[in-house]
């Protein structure tokens, strides 16, 4: 029994052993694989654990570092700020002094301003002085013009009253015998020429309205229509021309040519002036229009007049002497003498009255 059971057991175990031996290879492989898997697993987990731990440690260190860097930054910040501000103040100090100097020297230069104001006031004085002189000059001119006008007026009056001049016999009203010297008017009268009679200018029909215009000085140059005649004017008898025609011809005013009428100072006149001057300046030949060379032979000979020439030459009368004298025909040797006295009254001429009218 025991052997059977042992045998069974041995048989079972042999079977088991055979089965196991069959499975041994597989088991070995299985065992290997499992170990490998576990190994790898263990490695993986190990790595993961290391990673986690690493990470955690890193975080801790980083926090520490961060804190440190923050502190460092803070300190550095404060320090650098302080440094720069100090520097800045130094720079600003320099710039401040420079700008103050520059502005005072160039832009708001006090001394230049003072100089300028002084120059302005001097210039003002000068200008005021000049303007004062100008006004005085103008006033003088005005006075001179007034004086001249009065003078002219006086002279005109003297010319009109020329007949009041005193003669040698009769003293004039400005030359009273009771005065010591003649009135200045007398002297003026002596110097002035009498006025000539001037004819009244004919009044044309347009005279009234045209004198109203500021620049129209004289009546129109041509009369285009009949001057108005009285309606009841009777024609004179006889071979007379039409009176209107006569008047027109009589009072036809001067119509100078454009060249004469144009003033020297108008634009075409002025434009001609340089050409005139040029002509005077640049002639080719100084003696213009000299006669031909044989001029003096033919034309400059003296031809005596027929009345004075006789056979033997020229008569001297008319050129050498003018008075004919025939001493042989004289009756007596002497010339005539005055036998009769002049008229007695004429002897008293200028002597009956006191010596007025004599120019002092």
């Amino acid at each position: 029994m025991a052997a059977a059971s042992c045998g069974r057991e041995q048989g079972a175990s042999m079977a088991a052993l055979a089965r196991l031996q069959e499975r041994l290879e597989g088991l070995r492989e299985e065992y290997f694989l499992t170990n490998r898997a576990i190994d790898e697993d263990r490695k993986r987990k190990y790595k993961a654990a290391v990673k986690i731990q690493r990470w955690f440690r890193a975080c801790r260190v980083q926090v520490c570092l961060r804190h440190l860097t923050k502190m460092v930054i803070l300190i550095q910040k404060w320090w650098r700020g302080y440094l720069r501000r100090k520097h800045f103040r130094e720079i600003v100090e320099i710039q401040k002094t420079w700008r103050g100097y520059y502005v005072r020297k160039y832009i708001h230069n006090f001394y230049a301003l003072k100089k300028y104001l002084k120059a302005v006031s001097m210039n003002n004085e000068f200008v005021r002085h000049e303007l004062q002189e100008y006004t005085e000059m103008k006033e003088n001119e005005e006075k001179m013009k007034d004086l001249e006008k009065k003078d002219k007026e006086k002279k005109y009056q003297a010319r009109k009253m020329h007949y009041l001049l005193s003669t040698k016999q009769i003293p004039g009203i400005y030359n009273s015998p009771l005065r010591k010297s003649p009135d200045p008017m007398e002297l003026l009268l002596q110097k002035s020429k009498p006025l000539t009679h001037r004819k009244q200018p004919v009044k044309s029909p347009f005279a009234d309205e045209l004198y109203g215009w500021p620049t129209c000085k004289e009546p129109p140059a041509f009369v285009t229509s009949l001057p108005l005649l009285h309606a009841d004017r009777r024609k004179p008898q006889g071979p007379f021309r039409d009176p209107a025609e006569v008047l027109r011809q009589r009072y036809k005013p001067l119509e100078p040519t454009l060249r004469a009428r144009e003033s020297m100072y108008s634009a075409p006149g002025k434009a001609r002036e340089p050409t005139r001057r040029e002509e005077w300046r640049n002639p080719i030949h100084d003696n213009e229009f000299l006669p031909f060379s044989s001029y003096h032979k033919n034309y400059e000979k003296y031809e005596p007049s027929l009345f004075k020439s006789d056979k033997y030459g020229q008569e001297a009368y008319g050129t050498k002497y003018f008075r004919e004298v025939y001493p042989k025909k004289w009756i007596a040797d002497k010339d005539f003498e005055t036998l009769f006295p002049s008229i007695a009254l004429f002897e008293k001429f200028g002597k009956t009255y006191s010596s007025t009218g004599q120019i002092v």
Binding site: N123, F126, E142, L210, W213, T224, A267
Partner: protein, 470 residues
């Protein structure tokens, strides 16, 4: 014989027409007979005479119409309504110079009354005919035409533009160069009327080369011509900086200063106006005026005139002083403040006083130095009186207040502020007290003890650091 009789009838008719035209022209020259003429319907009767065969009748009829239109607005309107304008200008180019003169007279007499009448003239096409008249040789015709242009352009910018579009400006510039004084006067006044409305019109006038000729005529001895020339230049210069610079480049300084010493009041006024229009644009132009001694001349001019003639001179000083403190100091140094004070006290018109107050404010507002000069001249009490016075106008009060404010805010000269303390109203008092509170000023240490004491006793807010009583 009958032929002769027939001709006699025609001759009588012609004589009658001629006599009628002459008589109406003579009557129209007398104001008392114009009403009678109007009621007799003279305008309708003169109208056919404008187209008469005989030239002298046409001329006399035109002259009569001109005198009638010259007298009254209603007559001018009646002339326009009667349709006279087309007939007047239809045959103008072929007419002789007397007719042209009379026609220009009519147009000018109508245009002078109102812008509507001037517009009617422009619409009837008269501008072209007036330009033909301007091209004529006779100076009287040119004068009449430019006078008519002047009256048309005077009213508003559109009419001026119409005149410029008709091409009148170059011809007017030619007219200025003519030797006749009257023609120069009228042409200058027309250019002045054209350029016064807008910068474009002034630019047109400048582009025609007018400035050089106008500047050449400033030294001319004739007073009325000078008036017009200076007025024309000032109307050109007033619009913009460029135009003012162009006027200055024509070398008007220092010749213009002699105009400020002319015996004619209006020449002085227009000269001062020209300088004002130049000074107001930029500091550089004001600097130029100061450098050429213009400020001194203007100050003398103010001193020698009375009334409205002074006004442009006062404004010139204000403009010059307003630009910068150096210029203001230049005005002070040229003794500008006393005439302005005198103006403020003497003048009766409010606008002149307002201008003087404004000018003083501009002088004194820059720095303490300027305010001191103004205060020393004893201006502040006068300004205060004007401000407080009930019969001053609103404008004058406003300007006086502003001037006071500007001067007081910079004034550190305390003796001048002292008399104001007693009389000033609250609106001014706050500035005075503000000045006192700004602390001890260097000048104040020169004061004597009693004045010091009275200042200490005066109304002064303690702001802590104030001077201790000595």
């Amino acid at each position: 014989m009958s032929q002769r009789q027939v001709l006699q009838v025609f001759e009588q008719y012609q004589r009658a027409r001629s006599q009628f035209a002459q008589a109406v022209a003579d009557f129209a020259a007398r104001p008392q007979s114009i009403d009678t003429l109007r009621s007799a319907g003279v305008v309708c009767l003169l109208r056919p005479l404008l187209l008469d065969v005989v030239p002298s009748i046409r001329q006399t009829a035109a002259l009569a119409l001109g005198r009638l239109a010259d007298y009254d607005v209603e007559l001018a309107e009646a002339v326009v309504k009667a349709g006279i304008l087309p007939q007047l200008i239809c045959s103008l180019p072929e007419e002789n110079r007397y007719y042209k003169k009379a026609a220009a007279f009519v147009l000018r007499a109508i245009a002078k009354h109102s812008p509507q009448l001037a517009q009617a003239i422009v619409q009837s096409g008269a501008l072209g005919m007036l330009v033909i008249c301007l091209e004529d040789f006779d100076p009287g015709v040119k004068e009449g035409a430019s006078w008519a242009f002047g009256y048309i352009a005077r009213h508003n910018p559109e009419l001026s533009q119409a005149v410029v579009d008709a091409g009148a400006v170059p011809l007017l510039v030619l007219c200025i160069q003519e030797p006749e004084i009257a023609l120069k006067r009228i042409a200058a006044s027309t250019l002045s009327d054209i350029s016064k409305h807008s910068p474009e019109l002034a630019q047109t006038v400048v582009a025609a080369g007018a400035i050089a000729y106008l500047a050449q005529m400033i030294p001319n001895p004739d007073a009325k011509l000078k008036r017009q020339v200076l007025s024309a230049l000032s109307q050109i210069a007033k619009h913009s900086v460029d135009l003012a610079e162009l006027v200055v480049e024509a070398e008007i300084f220092p010749v213009v200063l002699t105009c400020l010493k002319d015996s004619d009041e209006y020449v002085k006024k227009n000269g001062a106006t020209l300088i004002r229009e130049i000074a107001k644009h930029t500091p550089e132009l004001s600097q130029l005026i100061v450098n050429s001694g213009g400020v001194a001349a203007v100050i003398d001019c103010i001193g020698s005139c009375r009334g409205t003639v002074r006004l442009p001179g006062i404004m010139t000083l204000g403009y010059v002083a307003a630009h910068s403190e150096n210029l203001s100091m230049a005005v002070i140094v040229s003794k500008g403040i006393p005439p302005l004070c005198v103006c403020l006290i003497e003048e009766h018109e409010d606008h002149i006083k307002a201008a003087a107050a404004w000018a003083l404010g501009q002088i004194g507002r820059h720095t303490a130095e300027h305010a001191r000069h103004v205060a020393v001249a004893n201006v502040l009490p006068t300004l205060l009186d004007i401000f407080v016075d009930t019969c001053s106008s609103e404008d004058l009060k406003v300007k006086a207040k502003k001037a006071l404010k500007n001067i007081l805010q910079k004034c550190t000269y305390l003796p001048a502020l002292e008399p104001l303390l007693h009389e000033a109203p609250p609106s001014i008092m706050k500035y005075i007290i503000g000045q006192y509170s700004k602390g001890p000023f260097p000048e104040s240490f020169l004061l004597s003890y009693p004045a010091w004491k009275s200042q200490c006793g005066g109304g002064r807010q303690g702001k802590g650091h104030i001077l201790s009583p000595c």
